[in-house]
Symmetry: D3
Subunit: 290 residues, 6 copies
């Protein structure tokens, strides 16, 4: 006889016990081997699950409870330490298996490079895919000091795959001049500094389209998310990020998957970052999984 | 010969030396034994006092100095560890003794359950009492996994005692669906997410009435109060909370007591939460004790 | 499909999947509501499991691997916050159920009071039970400021139940004068300051007897276990504690159960205490479960 | 052969290798010996340099790159521990040497008292100097418990030197009543609580004048800068402070020098304060050095 | 009515309420302005008092209780920030007043320079004074980068005052070559690395003499005292330091005063250093005050 | 004019300014991308340099000063994030260049895998090379979950290259059963748990031979080195590790290079691990570079 699993931080609160019957799959991608600054996001998913026991299952924002969403927390994909290519292959293969069954994939990073194989999988299924990207950083580098597999490159790879015009970035406040110029020249949308107001303007344009939403926790100001690899002042509040998630939920876009990446617990003694991430995951589940 | 007491964190800065001649009594309720998540608020009052030495005695918000308020810091009530019922009885008895002498009680928690015996004492003296409650959480549970004495229940108990229509909650962003429904069905006021603006609308209705104000520090966003048991993203700023205290001070309500609870220092290495709490206590003293 | 459970900190490394076929049961007692100083040990068991992923399954001390021991990690008993009596009853009942099936109970605290109901259960099964107790503190109080259910009282209760002459305490370096005197007057064994050498002298006397071993992590010097409620300088090293566990394993006593209590992770940013505890649990399993 | 200096945190990112050919000099003033509360700002400059490796060299706010600014990071002035007067003399002498060569001095504290000798040096060169001061505290004391050389006095000294009417303080939310009164009586500008809006009103009045800008990091709310000696709730966001720096950059004032003081890394485990400071330094360089 | 003072960390546990009738005076010297590395020891005395509530009043080492010692905790001397000379003068004057009344002075630092004025006062009263000094560092510099008032100089000053042959240093593992040579040439005793064994050899030589004992907490290995300004590997254990205090207590020397310095709480999140210091203070009181 | 570099933590204290004329080269290998548990050792070398300013340049153990050793701190090799193979190639190439000039290489990790390319370079120059290895872990795996480039494999690779009989491991207390067996079967020396005593027995056998010494900081007990990726209880003290370095220095072996790896500063708020590492580096320089 085993006691209630949630208490021991085993799975995200209110996870269903069975993969097959779930509508959405929550999974961790515990990889941080290509980060150029502070590592540690490999422990993000586990800590987000652990602190989820402090959450209520009801959202007063969306007036919906987690038991109205059938999701299954699959745990962390056992990625091979220090091998980026193999890690990305395993992620893509796993997301393929989720999509094959018509389930909604919701990923937790890990560094932002993990979004790249997910987007590849999504694009195979949804050729008219659009991406909503919330982040402090452009992530539009071709490589990082020679390495094409880097946490600074996923959005560039995604933009080249699905077309820069289908990528919408929000909250960006850091990047190389060349990255901003490339975006501009190639018709990619970048809203600098702000998220909610420009998002309101963009959402109607995406009505009816399949949209993948990737959120780097560092779109938040360091005050709201100190536990991440590369903090950058001047970000948005958790209130604005919650409102942005809700804005998407209430729009006419067809959210077909999402992720939340770059939570690195060791830099945040208070655990506020992991707690905030667990609340964001709850709202993503309640708002985006119909 | 003993040196200046404030330096050693002995009492809150500018405390008078004598209980009898004080108009207000500041007291600690170092109890955290019923909390369902992270304990540690038993050390809140002591740390708030300790860091008060970093405060100025003058408020540029209210243009008033602490020596214009005659208050006495009584220290912490020596509550018995692990015995909730006896702890609550001791608190009620102590607040009775304060009210008997016509003094203003200002309490520091400790978990939020400590407000329940205080409210019982207040209600005996002020039968037309109203409560202003600022918190991230509804605290309206009947019990917590079977325990009626829990930090999740004090506002429910208070509402049942003085009538739900006399309780006004602000900033609420977490609770069970049933709690929100109970409040609605029973005519209790809940302002979700915001504090200052809805408070401005409510205060005129309470003009002239005796009001007890209970503030859970987690009404603040975790960015502003990481040092608390249950952090919850999407909260208000310390600027808004200060303004709310001042709004009450300038209104026509008759504040007859108050408390600030749930400061748990161990989760906040920077001590910003305790520092913020000590500033809030100063403003409560300067604004509410006439 | 769920990924490897151990990675997400779900269960202690190498736990078997089935309660029924296990020879030993590892279980958590997440209670800290009666502690008189720093709370937080409720999170001990969960963190010990989480960091167990950093362990090797092989012990070079005992030349034995975890898969030679059939144990099942049952998770944490869902104890009611703030209700000591009910918590103790639930623990006793659970240990009864383990003993009924002839399995070896290995508990993780939580505060030291949790050992009291375990010992009650053990004594029902083993009337000639002896207790080996390693701790910085006597834990021989009758009550703590009036409360008989306190983390300062479990060994007194145990001694009164099974007879003081059957209790052997080691490493004690803190207590009231009355406690030491009571032990002396009642024929209870107390080795002050040291563990390994006096243990070597005592073990032959206990040969063949059923012995329950309760270890308070604070028997270690604070250098070796900063993450506990009441640190006390002058303790033993983790090397000595490991050697003591091995000494018992190699002796002729019949270890019938054990526990490791008072790990409070929040006071130890480096997580060395939880890591050390997870290694101690491994050695207890490998050394004591035949 | 020595590897890239920036990686090891040796100098601020993009510093030129040569003092002589630089247009601006970045220098540290590692002094904290007169602070009345929490020391530690002596390590501010070193940590700001170290974390600058996480910065991009391009500012999307100002559309300018660091290699367009010729600056040299001179390291820390080797100030004598515990000797305030000699420390101040060394700072003044060093800034004299910078100004003599027509370079722009940008200082990093250290406690706020270090700004006093800098201002003395500036005033010798610019007799019509005005000061923009952003801070939580007035810093207008004559002395602190008898000590005229204190981190609570630099703005008073500056005001008396260059005339109170030439000093503009913003964001002030703490001080003694006497300090506010002195400012008022002597025609010194103090904007309480806010920075950006009142700054917009003041800048046109200073058009064409040489202005020194001194920023105490504690003008930020503790949520945005926990790593400082005296945190004080109710401050501005890093977004507002960045916008204020940019507002000055785009105005018609002639910024002739500046500093950023009171970063005390030890109180901020996440290093967000040092990271924010390094971004502020980048924006000050890009915005103010023409 | 004020509650028990000890709970709020007001005074050291078991302090008597009255200066006049006390045999020993415990006092804090919260000064850290001349330290060359990490400041913060100004908060040492206050934190030591605060955590003393976790102590038992009985010592199983000495079989004595604190109520057998009549001591008074006088709080912290209000030293002027940043003014070393005036601070030292105030300390000397205060210790003079203690000695005048025939009481035993027990000081808590603060940086080690605070021992210098105490020793001056002691020497005035006891012309045949000897000093026992336990420390990681020689503290024999003439000055530190030109400053004669430095935390690196107190033992040199003391040795020059009372004669190097009357100073006995133990546990020393760091210093300049010149310092070790000066000691050797001038007949001062230095035991490198070890404390207990060489102390046993020295004590008989000091039988009957008045001895002042100054302990720098960094004589402990960083494992046992991480919370200090200058940690240095290879030190002794807290067990050895306790035994050394007891060895002195049981010897025939006449201990006439003592101090414990350099506890800097901010570097030790677990608070083990302050806890250890509070236990050391208890043993010094119980062992040295007859 | 640039101020003293050491103060800003730019280079290790007492580093010479010139590569060419140095006898020893100190260099960093900031790589942590293959670690299986907690990353962060990439910041080890930078932090060790930074805290070296707290060191004395004189060793009372060896009676020698750093200016008697001509060494140059080359900074960190700019390794490509997330690319293990290329990183190892760069390290090997750099060490080749050091050896070519007849200089002594002293490396700072980074994860332990960085020792592998160094040993390859050493072996090319010294075909009769022996290795002294101090570590908590065997590091003898063939691969880690399929990855041959892992921090768990360097000693296996080294043993296969130079012959297992030429590798001497000390202090080992963790590994898979297969690793211990492989060592035994292949004639490799492993001293479990202890370092100093078995080292004394081994050194005479290596007299006259060229020896490379690789030290994983986790050979220390977690009490002495909490700031590392994989802490493991039951280790040696820093006193024993210092003595072991000195034992080698005084022996007849010909130390031709060395390294100290796995310092991960983020897990050690007190910075004791980095401070200890900087002292170990000083002793290695003073003891091993003739």
């Amino acid at each position: 006889m085993r006691f209630d699993e949630a208490y021991s931080g085993k799975v995200f609160i209110a996870s269903r016990p069975d993969w097959e019957e779930a509508d959405a799959i929550l999974y961790g991608m515990p990889m941080d081997w290509t980060v150029s600054y502070r590592p540690g996001s490999r422990f993000g998913p586990a800590r987000i699950r652990e602190v989820s026991i402090g959450l209520e299952e009801y959202s007063p924002y969306l007036d919906r409870e987690l038991d109205e969403v059938h999701f299954f927390d699959a745990g962390d994909i056992p990625l091979p330490f220090g091998n980026p290519q193999k890690s990305l292959d395993m992620i893509e293969e796993y997301v393929d298996s989720i999509l094959e069954k018509g389930k909604f994939p919701l990923g937790m990073g890990g560094e932002h490079l993990v979004s790249w194989p997910v987007i590849k999988a999504m694009y195979k299924k949804y050729p008219d895919l659009a991406i909503i990207h919330m982040d402090a950083h452009t992530d539009l580098r071709v490589d990082y000091e020679g390495e094409p597999l880097s946490h600074s490159t996923p959005i560039r790879k995604a933009a080249e795959l699905i077309g820069p015009g289908n990528v919408y970035s929000f909250g960006i406040r850091s990047g190389m001049k060349e990255e901003f110029e490339w975006a501009k020249e190639n018709g990619m949308h970048i809203s600098k500094f702000e998220v909610l107001e420009p998002l309101k303007a963009v959402l109607p344009k995406l009505a009816g389209r399949p949209v993948y939403v990737t959120i780097d926790i560092d779109v938040l100001d360091p005050a709201h998310a100190p536990g991440t690899g590369t903090v950058d002042a001047g970000g948005i509040t958790s209130k604005e990020l919650l409102a942005s998630i809700h804005e998407i939920a209430r729009s006419d876009v067809n959210v077909v998957g999402g992720d939340l990446v770059e939570v690195a617990p060791v830099y945040d003694h208070s655990e506020q970052t992991a707690n905030t991430a667990s609340k964001l995951i709850r709202e993503m589940l309640l708002g985006w999984v119909k």
